[in-house]
Symmetry: D2
Subunit: 347 residues, 4 copies
């Protein structure tokens, strides 16, 4: 893996996802987070004063001293990671792309845009091909790529190795961590010792995003698999766990599914990208795993863990899948996207 | 509802379910818990010294002073509630039935016995008809009736009103409370801020028990619905929550399902039994309900709450169901069984 | 206890404390909550639409349909309970008092005003004597009484029976529930599986309020006891638990302290007020009690529980104290204050 | 720091503390855990089959394949770490010491033995001087050193830098993690959303152990400071938090205390031992720190964090202290003890 040193910036650097960007980029072998931007009210402050730091890992010294910029092009480096809130991400990210920046976004605004890749590098690196048309049609000198919603990435990653068997129908029920709602996010009065069986918009996102990710022609032809998602919030800090029942065009055994998942590997592993987990999917044998507290941090938070692969009385196979929602489901996902683009000469 | 005063006993009175029996029976309008029995090591002790009381409601004074008996027939009253552990319930309950007692059991041992009713009074009161054959074949002068596993009762109750539409397939994923595992039960190191996606034997129980309960001929002809269960433990104290996707013989709308559930009522409601919840099923309109902490105690813990009834992209309809696992799923269920039998002249 | 039927109102009826006022008053033998008021943005809405109901007990039907008023005098009944936020309580409560209303407030604004009683009816009912001067000096035709901060009430109630022995110094360390911070209050990301050893302003309140409550001359001469408070937030829903080490002028034994607490009783018990817990203080013998989940609801949430009364190697005696922070520490406290005033002919 | 490679063993390797020993030693620069021992029922099994692994970090490959020995001398290497349960530690550890082994124990059995050092290397490395007499009097060719109880180590470490000011009295109240009780340890039914204000024997241990650790003449002359401890269990996974009020012979300011803690350093730091945290005590400036979830892992779990150093109205100074109970309070503490002894030529 060749040595590199690339200046990057972070949009929305003071939020929860932004903090994870700053924390992970500060120990990244390629990227240097030299430019941090946030909303007007943070502009001009030192990052240490602007960001209500919520991570156990201490704020990186270099970042702590940096002055927070406004989210406007100009002094920003070429590659920008966006942890912006959806309420502003659409406009801001578009402006940076138009200004020639490579925007690697975690926001939902452009995810379903047919000209914007919704990337999981192990799953659909080929969707980057849509970027030429993105530039031409949008008239951008830069570009935007996105990563999926934090629960979608777990499901789509687990289903990807199974496309070869003809996926037809999936019923998934999630148990999602509170960190997925940002900060302040879920009030403790709502979730302590409780389950909230509803997360606004989440079920629709899982169903449509997964079809695009697993689809062809850069995602413009969605995968025909029909998905029914039940999304629930549970009192867990990090790690989205989900139970999945899968129907195939014809019968497939649990062993076949397990072998396919173990064998699963993609461009990130082939290119040896810094954030690429090996294996891409950890297939666990213990009868009671994966568990968020024990398994979310695998592969520095980038591994998707799957367990309890067994016969499904209703469909063919069922299993449990898990990944770290803020790493594999947000900041780490975007960083892997950027690594892929750099390695492919697209950034 | 006519006045009654019936002496009853509790087998396994010192365990978690036994404590709920003692607590609820002590304020019951019909039943008086005058005889408490447990394992040898508790025999002869005062109940207050033998039972590691775990309920928020204080131990009833009358019970506290009673001497704990061994689990052998003789001095016991006719009607006995059993909170015995499965390791001993089979033998002990059989002995009491042979000795002429009416054993109302929460243990799993006899649930799948074709001659033993697996009762949810609102759902299959007619299954009591099997008792004649039970007596004849087993040669018991007494009898045994059972209530379902604490997660089965939620699912079977929610599905019962839908039998009329031709249930064909169900995928259910549970989020179960720690009280379902008894005491000491789940170690806090395993479940604090965590999800354990496995409960031994639970998935098989949900699938087979629900088919018997919804079945005909006293449960000897199981309902043909095919069920796939995913069972998970979450850091919740009381209340099993589950997401359910249902397929019918032909298309049924969410409105039809909601109306059928609202209209659902059974023998307990018709007879006005003391523990009968009205309505039997609470259909909630709020987008984020039911929730265990807010809804498990409805109807003194006997109500089954259902919410988020909506279209299922894969099957026809999906929803969230919840009930109190130790009340509707254990002690309260058995007490309602006994009320039904008394009202029907069977005890 | 004579029958009464008194119309009352609630200021700040849509907040967490306001909801507890509405819930408890709706089943109160004397008071009828006929008038509900909140901020402008709720004015004119039905209460069911204006209040984000957070209680397990369902919203009372009668209240659900009421139209929410603005917090201005006029149509309001004479007695008003205030669950207003401190940012507005000062002005609004003063306006109502000036307009002739009896304002029974849970807000902190007037607590330390030398002319406003800071009441715990069992402890300092005599402080009501200051009301004459309050009317004269403030020129109010109405009046204001307040209840203490939710952690102060536990400490002051436990110390009250010990005044007779000459309290000199107290070190207290709290473990406080999240409900004490209102809603949305404490973010789950901050408190899940965590302890936050700081609650803004809380330590100062405990120290000064307790001295006023235990003091003489209507609270204008504070009790000389010196208090050092450590306040902490823990992942508990309801119930503030605290460890207390107490020094007396001369040696006092744990037995003497326990006897004094058991014997403790005040005007509410003497008058048989509806919300008066009997006993006022529950002295527990179990080695590991009180515990918030098991004991906060005692006496319908009004009982102060004390346990582990033992020798303190540094001072004389130490113990654990607990009460329900939203009931005994807020809504229930104010209601008991109002009951006392009605019984004493002051409202 | 010179390179070393020393074979070591673990007694009680399958328990929670034993697992932490195995996990930390497997990545230790000096020690190689080549010999693992546990109770008879584990003897002869592969470690992977004998240990119910509970750590997030996966079981080290090398350890997984090792055969578990019985706890008898013979094949064991010279240096042994003991995570044995107190019920057996006394006899077993004595036997190994008699057989010439250096036993570095986390068990409580020998802690208060006047001839056994109760070590916190930063605090009382000089207590190792008692080992000569230990050998002579006990007639052991080997030796035993111990580390304190998991809550004592936090208190004693925070008080050590303050000895110079003449410590006279301390009141401490703890909020302890469930991992301190081992596995299965605290039932989730007891601690979910709850506080248990009692931990058997813990208060006495904190009081007596701290006096020995801070004492002179190898701990045989206890420090005269009088300590009153309140110990509580809270729903936290790792990290014991405590509030501390301290009285000195004469007035000392918070600034002086903070400076003394920041300046605090001991033999481990001077010798640059692998597990020595730098600084030994982290003095935090944030108003709401330390917090177990954010700060327990500092210094690879070896740092003692202190915050909120401020005036105490009753004594002189009060603060919050925290450390990782299983690392700094158990496995890590013993490993640091062993590092010190090796560096000092005592092992």
């Amino acid at each position: 893996m060749q040595q590199r040193s690339i200046d990057v910036g972070v949009l929305g650097a003071t939020g929860v996802v932004g903090q994870h960007f700053v924390s992970r980029l500060s120990r990244h072998p390629w990227f240097k987070p030299v430019w941090l931007a946030a909303s007007e009210r943070s502009e001009g402050k030192a990052y240490r004063d602007a960001a209500p730091w919520r991570l156990a890992a201490p704020m990186p010294e270099a970042a702590a001293g940096r002055t927070v910029h406004a989210c406007v092009p100009g002094s920003a480096p070429k590659i920008l990671f966006s942890g912006l809130d959806a309420s502003v991400a659409g406009e801001v990210e578009g402006a940076f792309a138009a200004a020639g920046h490579v925007v690697v976004s975690n926001a939902r605004n452009y995810r379903m845009d047919p000209l914007v890749p919704l990337l999981i590098p192990e799953v659909n690196a080929d969707h980057l091909a849509v970027l030429d048309e993105q530039r031409r049609v949008k008239g951008w000198s830069g570009l935007i790529v996105t990563n999926p919603n934090c629960s979608t990435v777990v499901l789509a990653s687990a289903l990807a190795p199974l496309r070869q068997f003809g996926l037809t129908r999936v019923v998934v029920s999630t148990m999602q961590a509170v960190s997925g709602a940002g900060y302040p996010g879920v009030p403790s009065l709502d979730i302590l010792g409780n389950v909230v069986p509803f997360i606004g918009g989440e079920e629709e996102k899982m169903q449509s995003e997964a079809q695009k990710i697993l689809g062809t022609d850069g995602g413009r032809t969605p995968h025909p698999v029909v998905i029914s998602a039940h999304t629930n919030r549970v009192p867990v800090l990090d790690g989205h766990t989900m139970t999945v029942s899968v129907e195939f065009r014809e019968r497939v055994t649990p062993e076949t599914v397990a072998d396919a998942m173990r064998a699963f590997s993609g461009r990130p592993q082939a290119l040896g990208l810094p954030s690429a987990p090996v294996p891409a999917i950890e297939v666990m044998r213990e009868p009671n795993r994966p568990q968020p507290r024990l398994d979310a941090e695998r592969g520095d938070g980038m591994t998707v863990s799957v367990g309890r692969i067994r016969e499904c009385p209703v469909f063919h196979v069922k299993f449990v899948a898990l990944a770290h929602n803020v790493v594999r489901g947000a900041a780490g996902a975007a960083i892997l996207n950027a690594e892929l683009m750099v390695a492919e000469g697209l950034a």
